[in-house]
């Protein structure tokens, strides 16, 4: 489905260039939920930017469904941690935005947006302004906006990082049930190991800068999952311990960097 082969990304800097990704390989299969974890500054977001066609790799190939990636892909749904609803549009018109950009007629896109909002638990807030929504509701609306055009793959870049713990947990449950019901492919970037294990089929651990894959861990927790149920299972604790020891080595290495 999604493939990075030998990808190297360098950013030009003042004193020489900065290598963000170093010969990185990553593969995400159709319908898979993969979490990308690593110390901050390890190039997690760079991976997403490469996949979204925002950053051109210096070497290596990036393919989506067999096709090389160049430029922004309409089939990729991108959700960042920033609040990106347009404040001058009603929530409904925000959810309908991606369809509007693609020229879907007004009636169809409003109907679809209404249905999606209901699905995301936002019914009744169609005509509200984004400022009237809570942080969690804004996030849901942003997810609905992306889902509206049936993306082949969802890329989430620490989407719930700015939210409080309770809201975050509810949204994680939402992502789980969304993924279980739609069978979409998700690449989820986070620095939160607990979140990664809770959600993913596979946790990919990146090294400190320059980013490389240092380990891949299959998460064999049973599905369907609920955040509260998995959290206390012995297998969860075991997995967390294993990955944490590897991650803490990378964190120590990251601290040694300027």
């Amino acid at each position: 489905m999604l493939e990075l082969n030998n990808v190297t990304v360098t950013y030009p800097g003042g004193a020489g260039s900065l290598t963000a990704l170093d010969h990185m390989d990553l593969q995400v299969d159709r319908g898979e939920l993969v979490a990308l974890v690593g110390p901050s500054g390890c190039g997690k977001t760079t991976v997403l930017n490469v996949l979204a066609g925002q950053v051109k790799p210096a070497a290596g190939t990036v393919r989506l469904a067999g096709e090389p990636v160049k430029g922004v892909l309409p089939s990729v749904g991108y959700i960042s941690q920033a609040d990106t609803l347009l404040p001058w549009r009603s929530v409904l018109d925000n959810v309908a935005l991606a369809m509007e950009l693609r020229g879907v007629d007004k009636k169809t896109r409003r109907e679809r947006a209404r249905a999606l909002m209901a699905q995301m638990g936002l019914a009744g807030f169609e005509e509200s302004w984004p400022r009237e929504l809570s942080g969690g509701m804004k996030k849901r609306a942003a997810i609905a906006r992306v889902l509206a055009v049936d993306p082949a793959i969802l890329m989430m870049d620490e989407p719930f990082a700015p939210l409080d713990a309770l809201t975050r947990q509810r949204l994680q449950d939402d992502i789980l049930s969304l993924w279980e019901t739609t069978g979409c492919t998700i690449l989820y970037v986070t620095h939160d190991l607990t979140e990664a294990i809770t959600l993913a089929d596979r946790v990919v651990l990146l090294s400190a800068r320059p980013g490389r894959v240092v380990g891949t861990y299959a998460i064999d927790l049973p599905r369907p999952r609920r955040v509260m149920d998995v959290k206390f299972s012995p297998r969860f604790v075991e997995l967390e311990k294993t990955i944490w020891s590897a991650l803490s080595r990378e964190l120590a290495a990251a601290e040694g960097q300027p």
Partner: protein, 251 residues
């Protein structure tokens, strides 16, 4: 100090009324010379006679037309210039110092030149008013575009928006607060541009009427026109504030 709630508009009128009464009393009692300072009753008298003769309406329409056309032309061109400069960093890097320099030139000082070029009529006043307004819009919109949240633009680009769509659906609505702020500043500027333009050379308009009345030492008439202008600006500003409230209701 908590009395019954009174809207600020009532206070404005009250203050004005008290000042008028004091003025009337002082000029009637000889504390100030009505020849130089006129009096509210004389101004009112001159207002009524100008209205009856139709002179006031004639000059009023001329000035409003000049200022309005200047506001529209200068506003539209200034907005387009600001949008263009804000979205083309290289062009703006080259042109902004030039524009800043040009803005420093007192536009009214160029008035005589414009009258030589375009004559005593409407067009020279529209140019003066428009030019004053142009820079307000151009600089404000430039700043507005530059201050748009980058993550908003990026997220819409990632949804597959074209450059034109980003401009129409993100950059333009995001700069609307700046357009509204420009409009309110420009309102007074365009009127003073037109009026001073008439001062410099015209045969009609409130600016011309003020200067003609001044030459006759008719202080009541001068102040009558001044009051008409003040009231006009207050009314238009109120209307604009209402429009702004509606346009920016999402804030």
């Amino acid at each position: 100090m908590r009395g019954p709630k009174v809207s600020p508009g009532v206070w404005t009128v009250l203050v004005l009324a008290v000042l008028c009464l004091l003025w009337q009393w002082a000029s009637a009692g000889g504390q100030i010379n009505p020849f130089y300072f006129s009096s509210p009753s004389a101004i009112w008298g001159s207002f009524r006679s100008l209205l009856a003769a139709g002179t006031l309406q004639k000059h009023f329409i001329v000035t409003v037309k000049e200022a309005g056309l200047g506001l529209v032309c200068g506003g539209v061109l200034g907005t387009l210039a600001g949008l263009f400069l804000g979205t083309h960093p290289r062009v703006s890097a080259a042109l902004m110092p030039l524009l800043t320099g040009l803005n420093g030139v007192p536009k009214l000082a160029l008035g005589p030149l414009f009258i030589i070029w375009l004559g005593l009529g409407l067009r020279s006043k529209v140019l003066i008013a428009g030019l004053m307004v142009f820079f307000v819009f151009a600089f404000n919109l430039y700043a507005g575009i530059r201050s748009v949240d980058r993550s908003l633009v990026l997220s819409v680009e990632l949804l597959g928006a074209t450059r034109g769509q980003v401009l129409r659906k993100v950059l333009w609505p995001a700069s609307l607060p700046w357009v509204m702020a420009s409009l309110r500043t420009a309102l007074g500027l365009s009127l003073s541009g037109a009026i001073v333009g008439e001062y410099l050379g015209a045969s009609r308009g409130m600016g011309w009427a003020i200067s003609a009345a001044g030459e006759r030492y008719d202080t009541a008439q001068v102040l009558c026109y001044v009051f008409v202008i003040v009231v006009l600006v207050i009314v238009l500003d109120c209307v604009l504030r209402g429009v702004e409230k509606w346009v920016l209701r999402w804030q």
